[in-house]
């Protein structure tokens, strides 16, 4: 399970925002994984572990009543108008920061599918298994999350 530690930590960090929280959640998840599940017997250890990590993060989010964490939409839509660098093949640093902030500002159900798909490159089926929703829901959440993030990119002049 150790090879999946980075993936587990990354997911926890995006779900809980704080690294210290993420580290706690990951320890708790491993403990639960080892203790309650009597070892893993399926074929996808990473998805199985991420499922537990996500469950622990949600339980904690609930406990901390962080449900109401909502982003400022304006925050991600700030456009530096004068900056019309034609170099669109590279994502500029500014855009990267805007994107990272936009992802952090996504509501939890959208944030988690973006992280699992775009960073961790899980298949739709795996994401469905981890989040416990049908593949069709994964698809529509991804589409909506991408729509929001697309607007950040466009505001940065990435698109022609």
């Amino acid at each position: 399970m150790l090879p999946h530690l980075a993936a587990a930590l990354t997911l926890a960090r995006y779900l809980l925002h704080e690294m210290a929280d993420a580290e706690d959640a990951v320890q708790e998840a491993y403990l639960q994984a080892v203790r309650h599940f009597g070892g893993f017997r399926g074929e996808n250890a990473r998805a199985w572990l991420l499922t537990i990590v996500r469950r622990v993060c949600y339980a904690w989010t609930e406990r901390e009543r962080r449900f109401a964490w909502t982003p400022e939409p304006e925050e991600v839509a700030q456009v530096p108008t004068a900056d019309d660098d034609p170099e669109t093949s590279l994502v500029r640093r500014e855009t990267q920061e805007q994107l990272a902030r936009a992802v952090d500002g996504l509501p939890l159900p959208f944030r988690e599918v973006i992280v699992m798909r775009e960073i961790q490159q899980l298949s739709y089926k795996e994401i469905a298994a981890v989040t416990g929703v049908p593949v069709g829901t994964v698809m529509s959440r991804l589409a909506r999350a991408r729509g929001r993030l697309q607007r950040v990119l466009e505001a940065q002049g990435m698109e022609r």
Binding site: V34, V103, M139, A143
Partner: protein, 269 residues
């Protein structure tokens, strides 16, 4: 340049761009994007976004302390039996930030330079917890079994290049089980084992690098165990146990009082 296409906003187009379709839907989209510029553009936009996200979003690399913790958990989950989620989290929040503040300010208890730099302190804490768990697991708590500190203290002579304080705390409700040597923080150290009821306390001590104040920091929580760092002036020590934070503080206070006897800096601790 591109006419509207009602398919361009369908969630399934994302699945197509991600290579997640098969069978009839895959066939349909394959055919469709060949003729629909708008949807083809949309696929490009989705992939551009994906590439931008991968280059923008940091992944988190686990620290070596976290790796060690996880290894410990995977190797011996039984050592954490009885842990509760709530216990693991709430105190750590409070104590964790308290410790961080203390380490930064270093003045809360008048300890001055008691605290190690945060990084090495964290690292030592991880080693301390690891040593405690290892000893419990392999049932190797003590090399010299004795409740008598007059037996334990001389036992260390010849095994260590210093003579650790070995206080007798039976009267305080912490009878001694014995001692052993450990290798911590790059050196051989003394490990003293005390008990209270079913709980064990491992106390690791070695000479401090420089003279300093006398005192203890608030307990930290690692893997559900409480850990206290402190100094007797001349000696540095760490105590780790599954005792609750209050009792562990009490233990450390008692230990400090006895171990610091004769050290002017420990008067009144």
């Amino acid at each position: 340049m591109t006419g509207p296409c009602r398919h361009a906003t369908e969630p399934e187009l994302g699945a197509f761009a991600d290579g997640q379709l098969d069978g009839a839907p895959l066939q349909w989209w394959d055919d469709h994007v060949r003729t629909c510029v708008r949807c083809r553009d949309e696929v490009g936009r989705i992939r551009t976004l994906g590439a931008a996200l991968r280059s923008s979003l940091p992944t988190s690399e686990p620290s070596s302390a976290l790796r060690d913790s996880i290894r410990q958990i995977v190797r011996a989950p039984a050592a954490f039996e009885g842990e509760r989620l709530s216990r693991r989290w709430s105190p750590r929040r409070a104590w964790g930030s308290g410790i961080a503040a203390l380490l930064l300010v270093g003045a809360g208890f008048g300890l001055g330079r008691l605290a190690s730099p945060r990084g090495s302190g964290e690292d030592t804490m991880a080693q301390v917890v690891d040593a405690h768990l290892r000893a419990l697991q392999v049932d190797h708590l003590v090399d010299v079994v004795s409740t008598d500190h007059h037996v334990v203290k001389p036992w260390f002579a010849g095994k260590l290049d210093f003579s650790p304080p070995v206080p007798d705390l039976a009267a305080d409700g912490f009878p001694m089980l014995g001692g052993r040597t450990e290798y911590l923080d790059g050196r051989a150290v003394a490990a003293l084992v005390y008990e209270r009821g079913p709980h064990r306390v491992n106390l690791f001590t070695w000479p401090a690098g420089s003279a300093g104040a006398c005192g203890q920091e608030p307990p930290a929580v690692r893997l559900g165990l409480n850990v206290v760092h402190g100094r007797t002036g001349a000696m540095e020590f760490w105590a780790v146990s599954d005792l609750n934070p209050g009792e562990l503080r009490q233990f450390v206070s008692d230990w400090l009082r006895e171990a610091g006897k004769g050290d002017g800096r420990c008067v009144g601790v």
